[in-house]
């Protein structure tokens, strides 16, 4: 097994162009498990740990530019205000040791439907910045997951960072596992309310061959909020609407039975998580509208 150690980003792109079969490794929290169990024996590993910029994050206007290797611990601790959904998801990733090493780039590169970051990235409407010696492009995260553990990257491309709009409204993330910490998702649900664009976005993990959005649920809820004037009034959401949203979310699932849970349970759990996260997010939203009505800072 060859171990390529580029000193900088350009060198890494050149190496990936020369060896498209090289498997990038950063935190190694997923890949090393595969290697240790003998599930994968890549001919070449492309070590990205010497490229400092991958571990950095910054902002561009209202967008967070999140380096592919920024560890989950940093996201939890430093980006809770800007990326609340992703911060909640980061908190559910494995153990503290793993969260200190793993980052969003690994989740995206592996593209497992069980990756904890995906529902939050889908709900937030993130874009993946992929680069090769041929140039750079932004891939909407909706189009990024192309199959079971497959993604839209070209063989010569590397993930540089992820562009995520700073939250303009409440975001939630919820994940079911059969243990109260350090557990792979049986299924997961992400929700983001976007009052600035009057849209709703969702993400579902581990309940279909790829991470998916529940578009019918999003459209339904956005419609209710619009028609009933709820964005402005911040009134209580009709329980029937929350239930319908949850049913439509479950309808977006296409789960399987496996050692972690049954397909029926996954659908059921997505229903419950969708209803609960909507309740929490909407209560948050109502809180901010009430505060602004009382003379606080205006709502975005």
């Amino acid at each position: 097994m060859d171990f390529l150690r580029p000193a900088g980003w350009e060198e890494a792109l050149a190496a990936k162009a020369e060896h498209p079969d090289a498997v990038p490794i950063a935190g190694g929290t997923d890949l090393m498990v595969e290697i240790n169990f003998g599930h994968r024996r890549p001919e070449r590993l492309l070590d990205l740990t010497r490229i400092g910029e991958l571990g950095e994050w910054g902002t561009d206007g209202d967008t967070v530019l999140l380096g592919a290797s920024v560890p989950y611990t940093r996201i939890m601790e430093r980006l809770r205000a800007e990326l609340p959904g992703l911060a909640l998801a980061a908190h559910t990733v494995a153990s503290p040791q793993i969260r200190n090493r793993g980052g969003v780039g690994g989740n995206l590169g592996t593209a497992s439907p069980a990756g904890d970051a995906h529902p939050a990235l889908l709900a937030a409407g993130a874009e993946v910045e992929a680069e090769s010696v041929r140039g750079s492009r932004l891939i909407p995260v909706d189009a990024f997951y192309t199959g079971v553990k497959r993604n839209a990257l070209e063989p010569d491309e590397l993930i540089k960072r992820v562009h995520i709009k700073k939250a303009a409204g409440p975001q939630q993330f919820s994940k079911v596992g059969t243990r109260n910490a350090m557990v792979i998702a049986v299924c997961a649900f992400g929700l983001a309310l976007h009052p600035d664009t009057r849209t709703v976005r969702t993400g579902i993990g581990s309940a279909a061959p790829t991470p998916v959005r529940a578009r019918a649920a999003e459209d339904f809820l956005a419609g209710v909020l619009e028609e009933d004037g709820l964005w402005e009034s911040g009134a209580v959401l009709p329980p029937a609407a929350a239930r319908r949203f949850a049913e439509l979310a479950a309808g977006a699932c296409n789960p399987i039975d496996d050692v972690r849970g049954s397909a029926d349970y996954r659908r059921h759990a997505v229903t419950v998580m969708a209803r609960r996260t909507l309740g929490w997010a909407w209560e948050d939203y109502r809180g901010t509208t009430r505060r602004s009505a009382e003379g606080g800072t205006p709502c975005a």
């Binding site: 498990v33 240790n36 169990f37 003998g38 909640l88 908190h91 559910t92 939630q172 993330f173 919820s174 994940k175 079911v176 596992g177 059969t178 243990r179 109260n180 910490a181 350090m182 557990v183 792979i184 049986v186 050692v259 972690r260 849970g261 049954s262 029926d264 349970y265 659908r267 059921h268 759990a269 419950v272 998580m273 609960r276 309740g279 929490w280 809180g287």
Partner: protein
């Protein structure tokens, strides 16, 4: 011997604050800090110059004929020194704890997923692994038997054809009925009869230090094996015939053990490493990774249990019938003894005059099952405690009150006819857990707006902020035997040397006891200090140069090897007193009371259950003193240059086999009891569980090291909690293990482990050293049914199977 990081003797100073480091004090373990800081040398850290690495090729099928086996491509890999198959075995081909039915390497058939087929030695572990991949095995897959119906169906494949030991079917490893009284008549008197079917999944011991060891060929043609195991001498007994060596040429030394819980009772890589070492003439190390470890040891027997209980309307049990079917997997391991426990303890800690129990273990193509903490009593306890709650509900009685009305006590008869002849405070233990203060409700509510999700089901996964959460409370109590039963000649050996080093007396304790994390080395030092009145105690590494200490299992080591250390110390003390009298007897009249063999226990408490000597001189504070504390001589002065060095065996009182048809017999040495109260919160919509508190009360007879006692109760309770809500090896219908990793075999994390208040009783058992009672297993029994009872209370669901999965609670 050039091995590095081999076990070294542990010197323990052992003073704790104002104490002397004797029994009853919470002296600290010498290995504790090393383990927490990562400095402890485990068997996987062994290293030897020129050593090779062994690797095992395992069966991918649960049942298959081996049509051909070609190792030539593996042998051709550069760096490979040996590839061995069944045909290369030099002597014995099978081994086993109770029956030698397990092949060292599969011959013409594999009987379970993961069975060893070939072994490779190479100069690098990766080379050995790659070479093993090149071994070509032509398998013809055979039909599997995986449960009672398929194993006993007409024409079922026989796992071990040609068996003739009288079980009802060749695929039944062992069967034990226990019959007493007249069940039919008792049933007629019952006002309420409840029946239930229960199921226990396959739990794994999940120790953290995987199987590993280092075999070093010796110049005399023998072998030195450094190994993490539970019982050095039974390993040697099984290894010698396989290696074709006399036992004295098979020398074992205990290496650092990272947990055991029964999983190291059977051989794993021992024979393989020794065979490769003898074949190549080079030291050979084998270390399993986590994946292989799941295939490398036996698991807890999955069980199906059918129970019927009756009671009168005033809440007295009339009878019990039970059928307990245990899945032993492909080889016998310790299945017969597990069956004996399940049958004899299957009625629980209750007085029931009319009993009809049948327990049996099957041979199937599932992974072999054997010893695990609780050993047959765990499965039964889950079922009979569920039955107790059912009966209480039918009778409209409080579940604790109902249990107390039927609780056994000292003098009660077991269903085996054995009288319980030491304290059995079952009702008292239940009272104590019931009367503990309840944990506060809704602990997730914080001063701020947000719920503290860590206190909720789902934890940091953020699945509820209180929605759907219902609290439930459940109780359970269990009975476990201590020590080896059914007439087994159970003994332990201890060698104790007392010598003067630089004018200070030092005791050296040498046993073959496997320290697997239970704290036995600490206890031995405490006993030596108490008995010999010394401060400094050296614990020699455990090895086969000294006699057997028996297994570190069955909650027996403090009783048995602790008892051996105590008795040997007393013999040493008697010899010291004899020498003192010989040399200084004319100096003081008190010497004349220092009789031979009277023992020199401090306090001179004659007539105690300890059997200590009378009011003569004793050893204390490094000196020999009179009963009044007057110093007669210093120990160093008496010893001079000549150490006292004695090796003795210790036996518990004999037991009897159970009658094969009735199960009657004085089968067990001692019983141990623990009760639990579990408080859980269940997210009833998602089926997720948070155990809020798991309170325990246990009678330990005498807490030799109170801190370690509480640690054992915490650990056992947690392992029982794991079985209740998450731990299961999932085996597919074709006998394949589906979750051999810690990714999918889940054990409790710190967020799953609740507050565990412990109430320790010390009611002496007059038959046991210091009155002590084995501690380690009893808490594993009642923890599981208490947690499940609490989930039933929260959900109203019957929940007949453990582990309880979210689907069982949500119904989908």
């Amino acid at each position: 011997m050039g091995a590095t990081r081999i076990p070294t003797a542990l010197t323990q100073e052992g003073r704790t604050g104002t104490g002397t480091g004797g029994i009853g004090e919470s002296t600290l373990r010498p290995d504790g800090t090393l383990k927490v800081t990562g400095e402890f040398a485990y068997s996987s850290d062994l290293w030897h110059e020129d050593m090779l690495w062994g690797h095992t090729l395992r069966s991918p099928h649960a049942h298959a004929e081996i049509r051909s086996l070609d190792v030539s491509a593996a042998l051709a890999v550069p760096g490979v020194y040996a590839v061995l198959t069944h045909d290369d075995l030099p002597a014995g081909t099978h081994y086993g704890l109770e029956r030698a039915d397990q092949p060292v390497l599969a011959e013409d058939v594999v009987r379970f997923h993961g069975e060893p087929v070939a072994i490779v030695a190479a100069d690098h572990p990766e080379t050995a692994r790659r070479a093993a991949e090149r071994i070509r095995v032509d398998y013809a897959v055979l039909p599997v038997v995986t449960d009672e119906a398929s194993a006993t169906a007409p024409g079922a494949p026989l796992l071990h054809p040609g068996r003739g030991d009288g079980t009802p079917h060749p695929n039944i490893v062992h069967r034990q009925p226990v019959r007493r009284g007249d069940v039919a008549a008792a049933r007629a008197r019952a006002d309420v009869v409840v029946r239930g079917e229960y199921e226990v999944g396959m739990q794994d011991q999940a120790f953290l230090g995987p199987e590993s060891g280092l075999a070093v060929p010796a110049e005399d043609g023998g072998i030195d094996l450094y190994i993490a195991t539970q019982w050095l001498h039974v390993d040697r007994r099984q290894l010698a015939p396989v290696l074709g060596l006399p036992e004295e040429k098979v020398r074992l030394t205990l290496s650092g053990v990272g947990g055991a819980f029964g999983a190291r009772e059977d051989l794993s890589m021992q024979a393989h490493a020794c065979l490769l070492a003898l074949h190549t003439g080079r030291p050979v190390k084998i270390v399993y990774n986590r994946y292989e470890s799941f295939f490398g040891h036996v698991h807890r027997h999955p069980a199906k249990l059918s129970y019927e209980h009756g009671a009168t309307s005033d809440g007295k049990l009339t009878h019990v019938t039970a059928r307990i079917v245990l899945d032993g997997g492909a080889y016998a391991s310790s299945s017969p003894a597990v069956v004996g426990n399940a049958a004899s303890l299957g009625a629980g800690p209750y007085e029931i005059g009319h009993v009809d129990i049948e327990a049996l273990a099957l041979y199937t193509n599932n992974p072999p099952c054997g010893a695990m903490r609780g050993f047959g009593a765990v499965q039964a306890c889950f079922a009979y405690e569920a039955q107790m709650d059912k009966l209480a509900r039918e009778l409209g009685l409080d579940p604790v009150d109902f249990r107390q009305r039927n609780a056994m006590s000292q003098g009660s008869l077991m269903p085996t006819g054995q009288r319980v002849d030491s304290p059995a405070p079952v009702a008292e233990l239940l009272r104590r857990v019931r009367d503990m203060p309840m944990p506060p409700a809704e602990q997730w509510v914080t001063a701020g707006e947000r719920a503290d999700v860590r206190a909720l089901p789902g934890g940091l996964s953020n699945t509820t902020h209180g929605e759907g959460v219902v609290r439930g409370v459940g109780y359970a109590v269990g009975i476990k035997n201590v020590g080896f039963s059914e007439g087994f000649d159970d003994y332990s050996t201890a060698r104790v040397r007392l010598e003067a080093v630089n004018g200070e007396p030092v005791a050296v304790v040498h046993t073959a006891m496997a320290e697997v994390g239970q704290g036995g080395v600490t206890v031995h030092a405490q006993i030596a200090r108490t008995e010999l009145g010394v401060t400094r105690v050296v614990i020699d590494p455990a090895d086969t140069r000294v006699g057997s200490a028996g297994s570190t299992s069955a909650s027996r080591q403090t009783y048995m090897t602790g008892g051996a250390v105590r008795n040997t110390c007393r013999a040493v003390a008697a010899e010291v007193l004899r020498r003192g009298r010989e040399r200084f007897g004319d100096r003081h009249p008190a010497w004349s009371a220092a009789g031979d063999g009277a023992g020199g226990a401090p306090g001179g408490a004659g007539g105690t259950p300890d059997g200590a000597g009378g009011g003569g001189p004793r050893l204390e504070g490094g000196k020999i003193v009179t009963a009044d504390g007057e110093v007669l001589a210093g120990l160093a002065e008496v010893l001079g240059d000549e150490a006292v060095d004695i090796e003795l065996e210790f036996r518990h009182r004999p037991t009897q086999p159970f009658h094969p048809q009735t199960g009657q017999g004085f089968g067990h040495v001692q019983y141990s009891f623990c009760a639990h109260r579990a408080v859980v919160e269940v997210d009833t919509e998602l089926g997720l569980v948070k155990v809020v508190e798991l309170a325990a009360a246990q009678d330990v007879g005498r807490a030799i090291n109170p801190l370690s006692v509480v640690g054992q109760i915490h650990g056992g309770s947690t392992q029982g909690l794991g079985l209740a809500v998450m731990e299961e090896i999932v085996v597919s219908p074709d006998g394949l293990v589906r979750n051999p990793s810690f990714t999918d075999y889940l054990i409790p994390t710190v967020l799953d482990t609740p507050a565990m208040p412990v109430d320790v009783l010390e009611l002496a058992d007059d038959h046991a050293p210091y009155g002590l009672r084995g501690v380690g297993e009893a808490p594993t029994l009642s923890s599981t049914p208490a947690v499940v009872a609490a989930i039933r209370a929260a959900t109203g669901l019957p929940l007949r199977r453990v582990p309880v999965r979210p689907e069982h609670i949500t119904g989908c």
